[in-house]
């Protein structure tokens, strides 16, 4: 546990000591703030359809674009940088297992990801100041953000453990995330009921819509937890495998 904590705090520090963190945070807030203001303005129009503003905010087009772009940026150097620089050698000769390294690093990137979203809580505050907010769907929406982000970051961590090149890691991450994303969108191409259901089970977009409406389905939570765990397990195996060559 101590080893996981040591890795976690070092990794988190590395994020906040690099300019990358602030660049990402800046643009993240600019884009999200812009989206939020557009949503609020269009919903203020009396002719607009009624609905909670944050439901449009979560799960909108920009939401997915941001997620797709941010995941590889956050995860690409996580392990591949250690492999490239050779610091993995002193790391893996310390009394720490591959699983602990992956766990520490993953928790760090997850924390950083959460801290990217934290300022958007202010939007809910602004809405609450001006109107009545139903807090259930808001909380569920943030839970969805954490679940989906957690899975994508686990995929990115896995890709980063596979290669010493950050570029390759980023590319593999984008490819895997896109694949997963698209799988959930093409269910109407199939006629077989089982295929449709299976694809529906991994439909990120569908899940996020539910979360934004305030629906927290335990099947979804199990799916995200187990899928994230699976990719983290693969990441620790990939890191162990690096030693054999």
């Amino acid at each position: 546990m101590r080893a996981v904590l040591a890795t976690y705090s070092r990794e988190l520090r590395a994020y906040f000591f690099s300019p990358l963190a602030y660049v990402v945070l800046f643009f993240f807030l600019v884009v999200n703030g812009f989206m939020f203001s557009i949503i609020v303005r269009s919903l203020s129009d009396p002719s607009a359809p009624a609905g909670p503003p944050l439901a449009f905010f979560f799960g909108g087009f920009f939401f997915w674009i941001i997620l797709l772009l941010i995941t590889p940026v956050l995860t690409m150097r996580l392990i591949s940088e250690e492999l490239r620089s050779g610091s993995v050698e002193v790391l893996m000769t310390a009394p720490i297992t591959e699983g602990q390294v992956v766990a520490g690093k993953y928790l760090a990137v997850l924390t950083f990801y959460a801290s990217l979203w934290a300022p958007t809580l202010a939007y809910a505050g602004i809405l609450a100041y001006n109107a009545k907010v139903d807090w259930g769907p808001v909380a569920a929406g943030y839970l969805g953000i954490l679940c989906i982000g957690g899975l994508l970051l686990a995929i990115g961590t896995f890709a980063s453990a596979m290669t010493r090149s950050q570029l390759v890691a980023a590319f593999v991450t984008i490819a895997l995330v896109l694949l997963l994303f698209v799988l959930g969108l093409i269910d109407n191409l199939f006629t077989s009921e089982i295929t449709k259901q299976t694809l529906g089970y991994v439909s990120l977009v569908g899940h996020m819509e539910d979360f934004a409406k305030g629906i927290v389905d335990t099947r979804r939570l199990v799916f995200y937890a187990s899928a994230s765990w699976f990719f983290l397990f693969l990441a620790s195996r990939a890191l162990a495998d690096k030693k054999w060559r």
Binding site: A3, A6, R10, A14, G86, V88, V90, T93, A94, P95
Partner: protein
């Protein structure tokens, strides 16, 4: 204490290390010598648990490295060949991180950092970013992390490579200091370093141990007869006289005397020391003795002989290579800085 048994490592079809076995005892400093690509780093990586061997066993301080890796690694401090550090961290932060990674408690961390930083002469850069440090300082940070958790065993892979002479002296002093109370395995291809620091030497070539022993024992075992090198002013026909002296086996003309002087290499039997006789002979015959020095076979000679291969891949036999000719010239001993 390190025990390696039958360590073998293959990379695909290529066998980098062939069944190496050795022991490094408590309080011993053992040097691992070998040309580049001999398998030193592969061996070291197996001993430190970074690289799993294809077959074989390693125990560190009595703990099996593969059955109880954590306990074994806790006893082990490791300085790899390329010290890779996190450039964005300050020295002190990095040491604190490593200390916690090694499992030191909150209360122990501070003391451990202070001690390691002091021993490795890092006190004046403690708050500096690692990325801004010179190579010598980085090496010292690497060493500091290796001794941070007070391991009983240290493994250092080429600790002085790429340093300037002053830094080399400082690092060597530190190594000698550390070796007093620990088991220490040192890999290097710098021969004087081994003679300076090590109680025992292993010479590795093509993945096998080709010689092992104290530097003195290796020297004695592999050398033929000792010899004395002379430079005389004039006296081009001194050879006959020299040959007739007691204990002398042969005397032949040496090189590098210049036109007016003559140089001689006088080979003599192990037990004899003909230097006094030579001096008396010179006085009796009126030779002007410009130089007389006993030639010591250096580790370098042994090393070159054991690791030079002809085209068939066999080591050159000792009678084919006169060590004084084939070895690149290097002083047999180096000035030991105090």
């Amino acid at each position: 204490m390190i025990e390696a048994q039958n360590l073998t490592r293959r990379y695909g079809d290529f066998t980098a290390v062939h069944g190496i076995s050795f022991t490094v005892g408590e309080g011993e400093i053992v040097g691992m010598l070998g040309p580049n690509g001999a398998g030193k780093t592969t061996t070291i990586r197996m001993i430190t648990g970074f690289l799993p061997p294809t077959s074989g066993q390693v125990t560190v301080a009595g703990k099996d490295l593969f059955e109880s890796p954590r306990e074994a690694r806790r006893q082990l401090g490791y300085l790899p060949e390329n010290v890779a550090l996190y450039g964005e961290m300050r020295v002190e932060e990095y040491l604190a991180y490593r200390a916690r990674l090694e499992g030191l408690g909150r209360s122990e961390v501070r003391g451990a950092i202070g001690e390691a930083a002091e021993r490795c002469l890092l006190a004046d850069v403690r708050h500096q970013l690692i990325g801004t440090l010179s190579k010598g300082y980085r090496q010292r940070v690497g060493l500091a992390t290796a001794i941070l958790h007070k391991p009983s065993t240290l493994v250092l892979d080429e600790p002085t490579v790429g340093l300037d002479p002053k830094q080399i002296i400082a690092i060597r002093e530190l190594i000698r200091d550390l070796g007093r109370e620990r088991t220490l395995l040192l890999s290097t291809h710098i021969l004087p370093e081994v003679e300076l620091l090590c109680n025992r030497v292993m010479i590795i070539d093509r993945g096998r141990i080709v010689a092992e022993g104290t530097p003195e024992a290796l020297r004695e075992r592999s050398v033929g007869n000792p010899s004395v090198r002379l430079t005389l002013k004039g006296a081009p026909d001194a050879g006959e006289t020299l040959k007739s002296l007691a204990g002398v086996i042969s005397a032949h003309a040496g090189a590098g005397a210049g036109a007016e002087n003559s140089a001689w290499v006088v080979e003599y039997a192990q037990a004899a020391d003909p230097r006094e006789e030579i001096f008396r002979a010179a006085v009796a015959r009126g030779w002007v003795l410009l130089e007389m020095a006993r030639e010591r076979t250096t580790l370098e000679d042994i090393f070159v002989r054991l690791t030079t291969h002809d085209q068939a891949g066999e080591p050159l036999s000792s009678d084919r290579s006169d060590p004084s000719d084939s070895a690149p010239s290097a002083p047999p001993t180096e000035e030991v800085p105090s």
